[in-house]
């Protein structure tokens, strides 16, 4: 019980510290911008640890963060091999194929208005097909290895990417298009010099959404059949073995990799769409 009260005290104290950091004299400094979320994250972990220990929560229900950290450190090779299988092979290949083909299809769809009006509503409908239903089908079609995971990721990222890219390609002002018209520019010239650059903020929006989807898709697909390797395999097997610490270690890997993947795309976005008001400040 004392541990739980301690957790409460720490929570309040950390919140007060964060409130001071955000609103006090340091509020505009870079340090505060980084420290505040970190302090918040650390507080969550400490409170988690104290509550789990204080209330004697069974390790097979929720292990404390310290145990998870230990498991993480001891199983680095396994975690790494799983990540290579799931992220390196399944997610990344699916991400590239899915986003790449959506990009190309978007350009074609955008060119022919008939396709746009026909394909987008159907696409929206297909995008609503729940992935957990599609995954077993794709595992049946593409086998147990990473290819089926890749296929699931392709299906998951395709429509968000398509919709965003199509929206982006249309996101030019009438004036920008008229300008091209006054130069009597052809379709490809307009595409390359106007529409593609103008579409980039949308394209990156799609790419960012797709990062988290790719990761989740690859992991989920492994629940429906896999080799004896991979993050989804490990999570599902470890739950069965009541090795919850290992489950959480994999979740940590997923969160780290997901955030890193997202961050990487955001970084590239910053370079490519440096001109967009949202990137300028």
């Amino acid at each position: 019980m004392t541990l739980v009260i301690l957790a409460l005290v720490i929570w309040v104290a950390a919140w007060a510290l964060n409130a001071w950091l955000s609103n006090g004299p340091l509020s505009n400094s870079r340090i505060a911008g980084i420290a505040v979320p970190l302090i918040f994250g650390a507080t969550v972990l400490i409170v988690w640890e104290l509550v789990v220990r204080g209330m004697n929560v069974a390790a097979v229900i929720l292990p404390p963060p310290s145990v998870i950290a230990g498991t993480f450190a001891q199983n680095l090779p396994t975690l790494w091999a799983d990540a290579v299988q799931t992220i390196g092979k399944g997610a990344v290949s699916g991400y590239i194929i899915g986003c790449g083909s959506a990009f190309i299809v978007a350009i074609i769809v955008d060119r022919y208005d008939f396709l746009r009006r026909g394909l987008l509503p159907v696409g929206n409908f297909m995008a609503a097909l729940p992935i957990v239903g599609i995954a077993p089908i794709l595992v049946m079609w593409f086998g147990f290895d990473w290819q089926s995971k890749s296929a699931v990721v392709v299906v998951m990222v395709f429509f968000p990417m398509l919709v965003n890219t199509v929206a982006g390609l249309r996101d030019t002002s009438a004036m920008q298009r008229d300008l091209m018209h006054t130069y009597a520019a052809g379709y490809f010239q307009t595409l390359i010099k106007l529409r593609l650059p103008a579409a980039m903020p949308f394209v990156f929006n799609g790419l960012k959404i797709a990062t988290t989807l790719a990761l989740i898709g690859a992991i989920v697909a492994e629940f429906f059949g896999s080799p004896v390797l991979g993050m989804g395999f490990r999570i599902s097997t470890s739950v069965g073995q009541l090795a919850l610490d290992m489950v959480w270690a994999e979740i940590v890997v997923a969160a780290l990799a997901g955030s890193a993947f997202y961050g990487l795309i955001a970084l590239i976005e910053r370079g490519v769409t440096f001109w967009h008001p949202s990137q300028r400040k």
């Binding site: 069974a58 390790a59 097979v60 229900i61 077993p136 595992v139 049946m140 086998g143 147990f144 492994e222 629940f223 429906f224 059949g225 896999s226 080799p227 004896v228 395999f233 599902s236 097997t237 739950v239 069965g240 073995q241 009541l242 090795a243 919850l244």
Partner: protein
């Protein structure tokens, strides 16, 4: 009436007919019990539910129960309605497999989620590596169905006599196209579907009393089911909320399950238990359990319930 919650290992099907019959026929009610049956499903670990207090008693396989016990979850077998193992490996005959010695180089489908222990024990007893390669086997984590076999993504898959094997046959495959290895026959049988509770709960006489009545009524249900397989199957069907089970398949399943429960009066047979433990310990470099488990079962309940 006392409340009892039972967590099943898998979805509602004739594998658990005894409990549904006891519920349906009022055996639990007669024992002054108010029983709730929670069906299981993929990725629901019954042990976790038990540990979290979501259930009082669960159905599990002994290997995974022992492994969980070694992991620090103090669960105890209080009854063992299944005498015989229904687990088997089913292979295409045309894959050229005639015995375990031919497994090398083939792809085998295995259930994980705590169901892999019997397979791993068997393989390590045979000295076959499960890491793929020339003289090992490639293991797939098979999903919930027999497609990997039918579509030849694997040469062998795990099946239960009462369920997946039937499905293979229902899909039009004849028995002479197949080679089957029953764990029971190759000497690595482990105890399946037993009833487990948390150890510390057994110190509570009221709980013990509840379990005594529960086990007694459940065994009454099992015996009724063995005697009336078709009606039992229909009862199971009535309790299946997904509406997915078919009459035909459940009747088949009940028939096969009855063969597995046949030899048991509900009390754990120590010899069977010992054989399971030996099998699990025998796993060479990578045994499923590392120490001889202690206190993993008790006759306290069944002694009381069955006299």
């Amino acid at each position: 009436a006392d409340d009892v919650t039972l967590q099943l290992k898998w979805v509602t099907q004739a594998q658990f007919a005894g409990y549904y019959v006891a519920l349906d026929q009022g055996f639990y009610e007669e024992a002054d019990l108010n029983v709730t049956i929670l069906p299981g499903g993929p990725d629901i670990a019954p042990g976790q539910v038990l540990a979290g207090g979501g259930a009082d008693v669960m159905v599990d396989w002994l290997p995974s129960a022992l492994a969980a016990r070694e992991k620090g979850l103090p669960i105890v077998n209080i009854a063992q309605p299944f005498k015989t193992s229904g687990l088997m490996l089913t292979c295409w005959k045309d894959s050229g497999i005639t015995g375990p010695e031919d497994f090398a180089g083939h792809t085998l489908g295995v259930w994980f989620f705590g169901n892999e222990y019997p397979f791993l024990s068997w393989m390590s007893q045979e000295g076959i590596s499960t890491d793929g390669g020339e003289d090992g086997v490639t293991v797939l984590k098979q999903g919930f169905n027999v497609d990997p076999l039918l579509q030849r993504q694997a040469d062998c898959i795990s099946t239960m006599t009462y369920n997946e094997f039937g499905q293979v046959l229902e899909a039009g495959v004849t028995e002479d196209e197949l080679v089957t290895f029953k764990y029971e026959d190759v000497g690595v049988a482990t105890l399946e579907d037993g009833l487990y509770v948390l150890e510390d709960q057994l110190e509570d006489p009221a709980f013990v009393d509840k379990m005594v009545r529960f086990v007694a009524a459940s065994m009454q249900g099992w015996k009724w089911a063995e005697e009336n397989p078709e009606e039992a199957a229909m009862i199971v069907l009535d309790y299946d909320e997904t509406g997915a089970q078919t009459e035909e398949h459940q009747i088949y399943m009940m028939g096969e399950v009855a063969k597995l429960t046949a030899g048991s009066n509900g009390a754990l047979d120590e010899a069977d238990y010992q054989r399971t433990v030996d099998t699990l310990l025998a796993g060479g470099s990578d045994p499923v359990i590392t120490m001889v488990p202690e206190g993993a079962w008790t006759h306290a309940i069944t002694d009381e319930a069955l006299n």
